[in-house]
């Protein structure tokens, strides 16, 4: 190429580039796929893939709950919405414990079990990789371990506060996917019930409510904090009523998880009213539950008992 043309071509390309920028930049700003609108660095960097990472870290927390004993993708794994770590956390889901590990397939498999956690335990349990300490193991006369080995393990359970090890993964999961209520509920449950961190639990639930305003599960958990930890009955009643109202507006009881949440709300409200002496209102909540409950006979008995108690009040 002759030398004289190089500056000319360079200038032409520069002008073309500048012209394209003036056309592309406004289009990019208004494009629905543009991430420039988000102030969150993670959201900009990862896009929607952050939800996948959030799920991974939520499952990672469950793996920590089992002290590293966790099935791989080649084994039977629990549904990520039904993790055992979330049991009793009030998220309304069925929670399943991990399936028991089968017999080893070969000598490498048998030998390999010494090198990774292969006994089912939960955080706070004392651990040794001896199959004798598996949950399903029944102590017998042939066992080499003494009974007091197990007693010592149980005794250690209440003191260790090892449940704190779940928190980084739950916090990370919530940061990556702030619209996932289970993360807040699970973290809040462990914070308030095992680590005596009620203020932090409440703060985390409120953080969740900022991201998902009016989420019934989060409101229900907040109500539990006021009921069980702050012992503030009036406030917990108001929050649970708000939670129930939100549930009726946004959800139905077709899904099992939603039905469980709905039942928990009504039962807790009924119990609250019964303790407060308002038996008629308690019976009303149970009547609402009667519509969707599969166990109608037992529930009807409770309603009758409450109605009988309410009669003298009138």
């Amino acid at each position: 190429m002759p030398r004289g043309r190089a500056p000319f071509i360079g200038g032409l390309l520069l002008a073309l580039g500048l012209g394209l920028v003036t056309w592309l930049e406004p289009w990019y700003q208004s494009w629905s796929g543009s991430r420039t609108g988000s102030a969150n660095l993670l959201s900009v960097a990862l896009g929607d893939s952050r939800r996948l990472f959030a799920k991974h870290f939520y499952v990672k927390a469950d793996a920590y709950f089992h002290s590293g004993y966790y099935p791989s993708i080649f084994d039977q794994r629990p549904d990520e919405d039904k993790l055992h770590m979330a049991a009793n956390a009030g998220s309304g889901n069925h929670q399943e414990d991990l399936p028991a590990r089968g017999q080893p397939n070969d000598w490498i498999d048998r030998f390999g079990r010494y090198f990774h956690p292969s006994v089912h335990t939960h955080l706070g349990d004392a651990k040794c990789n001896d199959p004798h300490h598996a949950h399903e193991h029944v102590h017998g006369p042939d066992c080499k371990h003494d009974d007091n080995d197990h007693d010592a393990h149980d005794g250690a359970k209440a003191e260790t506060r090892e449940q704190r090890e779940l928190l980084p993964w739950l916090k990370l999961a919530a940061t990556l996917d702030p619209d996932r209520p289970e993360t807040y509920i699970t973290a809040a449950y462990w914070l308030r019930s095992h680590l005596d961190k009620v203020a932090e639990a409440e703060q985390f639930i409120r953080e969740g409510l900022q991201h998902i305003p009016g989420e019934p599960e989060l409101l229900f958990e907040l109500g539990r904090i006021y009921r069980e930890n702050h012992k503030d009955i009036n406030r917990s009643r108001r929050i649970w009523q708000a939670s129930l109202s939100q549930f009726r507006k946004t959800r139905t009881t077709e899904e099992t998880e939603d039905l469980l949440l709905y039942a928990q709300m009504l039962i807790n409200l009924a119990k609250l009213e019964e303790e407060a002496g308002d038996y008629a209102k308690a019976a009303d909540y149970l009547k609402d539950l009667l519509v969707v409950s599969p166990n109608k006979a037992a529930l009807q008995k409770s309603i009758d008992a409450l109605t009988a108690k309410a009669a003298p009040q009138k």
Binding site: Y64, S67, S72, F74, F111, Y114, F115, N129, R164, E165
Partner: protein, 291 residues
């Protein structure tokens, strides 16, 4: 030994010349071989100490771990396992990088710099060169691992006040022996593949493949039809199960130490595989033209 930029030159008068002098017979041969191997290995260790790889990786590991450890989660100051997990992951990545890249360049660089000819002109056999290179890399990686694991131990103790000496020792030795297999494999690869870069890539893919999939190959095989099942199960039995040596989960989650006999069995398993790879490397190097 002295080095100019990127070149390895062996000073025979200083490093190897006295070897074997004054001795005769079988004892002399063994002693001479041992001295040759340790002298060549010493050169490799000095090379690693001079290079920046280890220092950079160690500083990076330390900085990342300390920064991540300083994050506050719900005002809980004693959370430690995530820091331990991250630290061990970085140690594993760093040690693999050091081991593979160091081992892969040894023989090709000697050939490239034409220092292999004077080396073999002296009373040093080709097998001794291979074993010396292996020994040097393994020793150098062992030293690096010791520093990494001391850092890990101190880091954990500052957070939770526990000193799991036995578990950490087991993890360190298992890790070191696993790297012995990897180094032997890489030395063999350096005689098979044309360039260190291709050897590095193939070894990394192979090692990572085993670490990620080795434990599960049998489960996958059982779901296949014949003859794929037998074929995959055979591969499962033949490949060195490097994943056995990954005891990070036991260390992170505070499990009790592995029974010592089992630990010893694992070390023996690694020695067998490293021996096989080294034997292959020795045979191949003996037949290979050095020109």
């Amino acid at each position: 030994m002295s080095a100019t930029t990127g070149k390895t030159i062996i000073d025979f008068r200083h490093d190897i010349a006295p070897i074997g002098s004054g001795l005769s017979g079988h004892a002399s041969a063994v002693s001479s071989a041992f001295n040759n191997i340790s002298a060549i290995g010493g050169v490799v260790v000095k090379e690693l100490l001079r290079r920046k790889d280890f220092y950079v990786l160690f500083v990076l590991t330390a900085i990342i771990t300390v920064v991540m450890g300083s994050v506050n989660f719900f005002n809980e100051t004693k959370i430690v396992r995530y820091v331990k997990e991250l630290c061990l992951l970085l140690i594993w990545v760093s040690s693999l990088v050091i081991a593979v890249t160091t081992a892969a360049r040894q023989i090709p660089f000697e050939r490239e710099n034409r220092t292999l000819f004077p080396l073999l002109a002296k009373p040093v056999t080709r097998a001794q060169v291979v074993l010396g290179k292996f020994w040097g890399c393994w020793l150098a990686v062992g030293l690096a691992l010791a520093v990494f694991y001391v850092f890990f131990l101190v880091l954990g103790a500052t957070r939770d006040g526990e000193w799991p000496i036995a578990q950490t020792f087991q993890a360190l030795t298992l890790h070191w022996f696993m790297l012995g297999v990897v180094i032997a494999m890489t030395v063999l690869g350096s005689l098979v593949f044309a360039a260190p870069s291709s050897n590095n890539t193939i070894t990394f893919v192979f090692v990572l493949g085993i670490l990620l999939m080795g434990r599960h190959l049998n489960k996958v095989a059982l779901r296949l039809d014949e003859p794929s099942q037998t074929l995959l199960y055979s591969i499962y039995y033949v490949v060195p199960h490097l994943e056995l040596y990954d005891v990070r989960d036991l260390l992170v989650h505070g499990w009790s130490s592995i029974p010592w006999l089992v630990w010893l069995g694992a070390l023996a398993y690694a020695v067998v595989y490293a021996g096989l790879f080294l034997l292959g490397a020795c045979v191949l190097f003996k037949r290979k033209s050095v020109n």
